[in-house]
């Protein structure tokens, strides 16, 4: 089965894209290009008729949509139908923020139950429509900052287990520099595959491990 194309030509050629049903950890420092990677992946996956549940922990859903538009990605036709946002950020600054047809406003990073319930519900809706589904966590670092890491591990094990059962692909974005090595190691263990990104001398590089077509040396991403 053909993988999910990320929209990065050499990444897709070398790796055959992302495997469906797998759990990917997307590691990188602040400027490594994680957001760029995710945004392009979203564009590519939506145009290939995948459905996406986007868990947002560090900005509001309106900021996310602005980011897509500023990068020339027209997300609007997909909103609600194939692209849903679980906004775990807005209520922290704006307690009276309410849901709309494509964004569900969650209670904040400590309410992992609320996040889990909303994720299950959004996934169920897409799976019932027979759509291949991708869950993207942008990002996990904020959940790890506010919660006891063990609590987040339990949460991840639960959502990953359910996603696999439902045939859903999962991607966690993590800012590596923000967490101690044991946290990163545990996230690796929960994941099937790891994508590492880095910025070096003005260029961005990736490597991929844990899939059938690994790229174990950093390659420029383009």
């Amino acid at each position: 089965m053909e993988g999910i194309k990320t929209g990065f030509k050499n990444f897709d050629e070398l790796t055959n894209g992302l495997d469906y049903r797998k759990v990917y950890a997307l590691f990188g420092d602040k400027e490594s290009g994680k957001e760029q990677f995710i945004y392009k992946l979203v564009q590519s996956a939506l145009s290939a008729k995948n459905a996406i549940v986007y868990v947002l922990t560090s900005k509001s859903y309106s900021e996310l949509i602005t980011e897509f538009n500023s990068r020339g990605i027209n997300i609007n036709p997909y909103l609600g139908a194939d692209f849903r946002i679980l906004d775990d950020f807005s209520r922290t600054n704006s307690p009276s923020a309410t849901d709309n047809s494509y964004a569900k406003i969650l209670n904040g990073p400590l309410d992992l139950t609320g996040l889990s319930v909303s994720l299950s519900s959004a996934n169920s809706d897409f799976v019932k429509d027979a759509k291949p589904v991708i869950n993207i966590f942008d990002n996990l670092s904020n959940l790890l900052i506010y919660n006891n890491p063990v609590t987040v591990y339990r949460f991840l094990q639960f959502v990953v287990g359910k996603a696999k059962l439902a045939g859903i692909t999962t991607i966690f974005s993590i800012d590596v520099a923000m967490h101690p090595p044991e946290v990163i190691e545990t996230i690796k263990n929960i994941s099937d595959a790891v994508i590492d990104l880095k910025l070096q001398e003005g260029k961005r590089y990736f490597k991929l491990s844990g899939t059938s077509k690994e790229v174990l040396q950093f390659k420029e991403i383009e």
């Binding site: 209520r91 209670n107 990073p109 309410d111 609320g114 889990s116 299950s120 169920s124 339990r154 639960f158």
Partner: protein, 413 residues
């Protein structure tokens, strides 16, 4: 004080505090003082709406409620409650153990107490126990599992013991909301052994969630200790927790009033019909006294009989609608029960048009239908025949509709 009325519309004594949730109040008779209830939910279903509903029912019944909040901010919690149509009032008090974690400044008000350092377990313990001395009828902790995550199970267990002692000495009660993330069994068992009642909330799921249910696993204040079965529910926004019956069949002969019954009982009924007679299916959703049910109506004409078995499949109860003025159709009514393969399910007979000339009396209908004495028969009448729109099902009077719904729902719970 407002009594919880349930399906009977009456109760022999006040329950105080209440759950405010159909079935739970009927079976457990509310939450007696000095008792601690744990509502344990699967992470894919959640239990926060149980908390909102319990709080709202009590504050609107004059019970002073204290909510310990570590899952979200008080403002966000109140917004969420309001979205379920559970607005706060002067009887609701909150201990905010959340804002200190996020670093967002939270000011104390008459109704919000703030824990300055939510990472300090002794401050958490002391502040909650001290506040309980201010005459609360109910304490709600949302969330107790987050306390165990934040500190550890040893703290959670000892804190629960402290809460229990306090609610006993202050004649209060407590509801603890708990998400079971797959903790070690011995830790969970130890917690559960300390509470008076445990209610489990779970999803029916394979690849996707098909439904959700709650079940009373334990309750030490019900002497008879009935076997509690699990109860399907829906969490409606607005509306909260509704006990849910996924399929109730409405059947009976042609023109008896099946569509009228469904349209009168439901908020959003649809018919597939032609010139007034239903030729395929009626469907409506009923929202009544904390219960929610999907009604499916069959056509009455014999040419559609091949459909009846399919339409009756998986129904859990039946309304059999007959025209009180047409006893000649009664054998057909019984035949339809047989053809829908619902004979033997809980049934309520609706004797419609009971005010028209020539209508048979209740006992005559029972006799002609050969009804067992245990089967309930309810008479219904149209609201106002002068206002009948030939293109719409006739509206039936509410009293008969409510009586019928109550009679069947009681059999189903």
């Amino acid at each position: 004080m407002i009594e919880y009325k349930g399906l009977d519309g009456i109760t022999d004594k006040d329950f105080d505090p209440y759950f405010g949730i159909a079935k739970l109040d009927e079976q457990l008779k509310g939450i007696p003082s000095k008792k601690v209830v744990l509502i344990s939910a699967s992470p894919s279903v959640g239990n926060e709406v149980f908390g909102y509903q319990i709080i709202h029912k009590n504050i609107t019944s004059g019970v002073k409620v204290l909510v310990f909040l570590n899952r979200t901010s008080p403002q966000s919690y109140l917004t969420e409650m309001k979205e379920y149509d559970f607005p706060a009032n002067e009887n609701l008090f909150i201990i905010d153990a959340y804002s200190g974690i996020t670093g967002i400044k939270s000011d104390e008000t008459d109704h919000i107490r703030v824990i300055g350092n939510p990472y300090d377990k002794e401050e958490v313990r002391t502040k909650v126990l001290k506040e309980l001395g201010n005459g609360y009828g109910l304490l709600v902790i949302d969330s107790f599992s987050l306390l165990a995550d934040f500190f550890d199970f040893s703290f959670a267990t000892s804190f629960m013991n402290d809460i229990k002692k306090e609610v006993v000495s202050k004649d209060s009660a407590a509801v603890l909301l708990f998400t079971d993330w797959g903790y070690e069994k011995q830790n969970v068992d130890k917690l559960l052994s300390n509470v008076n009642s445990t209610i489990e909330v779970k999803g029916i799921e394979k690849r996707v969630i098909f439904g959700q249910y709650f079940a009373v696993l334990k309750c030490d204040w019900i002497e008879e200790n009935p076997a509690f079965s699990s109860v399907l529910f829906k969490a409606m926004k607005p509306g909260g927790i509704k006990v849910y019956f996924p399929k109730i069949l409405v059947t009976g002969p042609t023109d008896a009033g099946k569509s009228s019954f469904i349209h009168s009982a439901s908020k959003n009924a649809v018919s597939v019909d032609k010139l007034g007679g239903t030729i395929a299916l009626d469907h409506g959703t009923v929202d009544f006294q904390g219960y929610r049910a999907d009604l499916f109506g069959t056509p009455g004409q014999e040419r559609f009989d091949p459909l009846l078995k399919m339409l009756g499949g998986e129904a859990i109860g039946v309304f059999l609608v007959v025209d009180s003025t047409k006893p000649e159709q009664f054998p057909r009514a019984v035949e339809m029960l047989r053809k829908t393969e619902t004979y033997g399910l809980p049934v309520v007979v609706i004797a419609n048009k009971s005010d028209l000339d020539g209508a048979l009396k209740k006992e005559e209908i029972r006799e002609k239908l050969h009804l067992d004495s245990a089967i309930i028969l309810i008479q219904t009448v149209a609201e106002d025949l002068s206002k009948v729109d030939p293109n719409e099902p006739t509206k039936l009077k509410e009293a008969g509709i409510n009586e019928a719904l109550s009679a069947l729902f009681k059999q189903l719970t």
